[in-house]
Structure formats: C-alpha cells, structure tokens
Point group: C2
C-alpha cells in the first residue's frame, strides 16, 4: 500500500477517528461481507506516509489475489492505494517474518518553506552539514539497544534493533532555488516507537554542529531517552519499502 497519511490518525485502529487500518478493514468488509481485521506490517504514526506498507488478512472470498488491488481501490479513499496483492502461506504474520524496512525522512532546509513539498517534509531552515550528519549516523549502524531513541511510550519487550544501512544525502529543491532538501534513509530489521523520528531530530542537531558523533555514541550508550534530541514531526517520514530477507 501507498498512502498520504496527512489526514489519518496513523495506522492502528482507534475509536472515532479515521486510520489507515480502519479504512482498509471497511473496504475489505464491504467487498466480502465478512468481519475481517487486517494485520499490518508497519503501524505508522499519525501523519506518517507510506510507499510500501503491507497487511495480511484471512478471507473465504473467491476473489483471486491479483484482483484485490482494483477491488479495494474502488472502495478506499483516493489517498490510500493498494498497489499489489498476493496469497501468503497460512499463519504468515507481517511483523513476525524476517524483513528489512526502509524509512526515509525529508528535510526542507530552505530559509523559506517550500509550499509544494510541505505535506511531505519538515521545514528546518538551517544549512545542514551532511558530512557531519553521515558521520553521526554511522554510530547508529549495527545492533544496539536503542532505548535512547525510543519514545518513553514505547512498549517493546526489548529495545535491541539492528540498523543495516543509514545515509544522509542532499538534493536540490525543484521548487525554490537554493533550497536544499536533505533526505535521511534508514534500513533495519525493525524500529521502535518514534525511533526514526528521534534519529532524525538527533541527526539535525549533528548537521547544525550542536552534537558530534561522539555525543551521539554517548547518548546511545546511556540508554536514556531524556538524553536524546527532539522527536521530528511526522509529516517528513515515509515508510519507503519492506523487503523479505529469506
């Protein structure tokens, strides 16, 4: 699935608000007449977007897998699109299988915020030093306890995760001359609550020269969220893709 998360209260079902999951359940149930709840791969936060999220559901419907995208898209709001579908093994669970997820975070570093990219970027009106950001990012590579990079509201049993790839690149804005866009791309086997947004807040401080790679190593080692940087806002974040590891 790809979606513009701006108008949704995130993935997960909640009372009285629109979520990606509630829209998807409603679409499936309108088609099948069954009472189905999907299981999502990535439970994106309110306002976060996706280019490649996944969900699984059981149905006794005879609709072949390849026809589901069109059937669902006819029911879903236009800002949520199912891009492809396939049949899975029974009991396959999209969060209990070995996958690598890639998130991207877009920073608009112009003095004046680009109004055309505003739904999908965080406006940070500073010249960021991308080399320093990459140096700081390298500290986070590999297996670590990411407690310092997890919201205190996180409820995971373990805060150990592995980041397999992290990079920061600078692009020219196509909208406002001399505005830079900085894109942080993080790949790993799983992410804690707000983890990519806290990593982003931290790398922005590195890019502004307010934190060094050594500071970030210390924050990581401290395993204390209070030592970390601010949580970046949701609209710059997109779940870019999920890749199976087997």
């Amino acid at each position: 699935m790809a979606y513009d998360g701006t108008d949704y209260h995130g993935w997960q079902l909640q009372d009285n608000v629109k979520t990606i999951e509630s829209e998807l359940n409603a679409a499936i149930n309108a088609i099948t007449g069954e009472d189905i709840q999907v299981i999502g791969a990535s439970r994106t936060d309110a306002g976060v977007h996706a280019r490649g999220n996944r969900a699984v559901f059981d149905t006794s419907s005879a609709i072949p897998a390849e026809n589901w995208p069109m059937a669902l898209n006819s029911q879903l709001p236009e800002d949520i699109r199912v891009v492809s579908a396939r049949e899975t093994e029974p009991y396959w669970h999209p969060r209990k299988c070995a996958t690598l997820k890639t998130y991207e975070y877009v920073l608009d570093c112009g003095r004046i915020a680009d109004p055309i990219g505003a739904r999908f970027a965080w406006h940070v009106p500073y010249k960021l030093d991308v080399d320093k950001m990459n140096e700081a990012a390298k500290v986070l590579l590999g297996e670590h306890d990411f407690t310092s990079f997890c919201s205190v509201k996180g409820t995971a049993l373990s805060n150990v995760r592995t980041i397999t790839d992290i990079s920061v690149i600078k692009e020219e804005s196509r909208v406002i001359q001399d505005n830079d866009r900085v894109v942080i791309s993080v790949t790993g086997n799983g992410f804690l609550y707000n983890m990519v947004r806290i990593i982003t807040g931290t790398l922005v401080e590195a890019g502004r020269g307010k934190k060094t790679a050594a500071d970030i190593k210390e924050i990581l080692d401290n395993k204390d969220r209070r030592r970390g940087a601010m949580t970046a806002p949701p609209q710059g974040l997109v779940l870019a893709r999920i890749v199976d590891m087997e």
Copy 2:
C-alpha cells in the same frame, strides 16, 4: 511566489472565494495599512500551482524590498510563499514586459494512481509513447495562431503566441514501482486561456496513438477549438518560472 493552488480559486480576485491575489492583497494591506491591489504576471487558473509567479505593487511603505518576503510570509497562509522581492522601475507591468514563461504539466501514468503525488499530477493510466508526444509537440513550436488551443472563454485580442521550447520527458515514479511520470514542459512568450492544459490533452492523445503529428498540424491550422482535444485538469499544472528577456 510559490504556491500549492489546490485550495484556491485561482489567481484572480473573485467575490466570496479565496484566491492567490486576494490573499496577497490582504497580506500587503495588513502590513502597510494601505489599500493595494497587486498586478500578477500569470493569472493561474483554479487549482493550478506555481513555483515562480510574480506580482508588482506600489506602496509608500518604507520597508526595504529584501524584507518583504519575510513580512508577507508572516501574514500569508502556509501554502503561499513569497520567495524573493525587488524594487522595480516605475510603471513596470509584469504582463507588459518581455518575458519567457515556462509551465510544466505532470502526468501520472501508472495503472494505480500515486496517492503521494496526487495533488500535483493528472492520473492518465496508459503507457504513453513519449517519442510520439515529442514529435507532435514539435508542430507547436514557433509563432502560431493558437485559437484551437484556447478555451472558447478566452478574451485575448490576438491568439497569436510563440512557443520557444516544448519537450516531453519520462521519469520513474519514486512512489509506485513501474509507474511512469511524464512531464510536459512548455516555454513561450505568453499563453492563452487554458492553452497549456489543451496542449496537454492533445499530447496525451498523441502518446496514446490516437492523434499523429499531422493531425495536430491540421488542428492548429483549423483555428477551431472544437477540433482540439480535451482540456487537462488543473492539478497537474505548475507555472515553473518566468525569465526576463532583456
């Protein structure tokens, strides 16, 4: 100025609706206490966007030109941003000076519409032949009477305009795999009402093999709007830039 035109009834002042011009006038008048109406360079239609529109106004305010962007942006809604400002010669008129305007039109040619680019593209779910589109586009290069490419609601004294550059390129979508984006870029000394959107509708037919370059030559020569193709919807169109010719 750059703006996301989605929520506006176009550039031009109209009763009881939000337009780019009305927002800009209100911002200037809030700052100066004067009763100023701007003159815009490109009176974009409802739903059309801009990366580089211009406007001029007379004021007795002592605010230096370089401070106007920040002053105006503090008053304007976030989807309209003033990017730069300068003092002009007296009586300079942004539509009566020699400029080249470039418009871009973005087509989303995926089978499934990209929900993340949807505000800024027209979903045309066909494989378009970009070579055929470029061949057809060449017919429009140069000075012509573009009556066949002007809305019947157009009120220009002459329908003769010059297109100095027109090209069609294909890009990969960054959102949905295998979705192509096709971008039509048109530069000229001025454009008639709906002209770029009618050119786009026509080039899409060329890309689908429904019209040849010879057909388009005939449409142009006929000087009859009824012979042309449909007007493409506004949301794919952006005024990319205006360049002074002197």
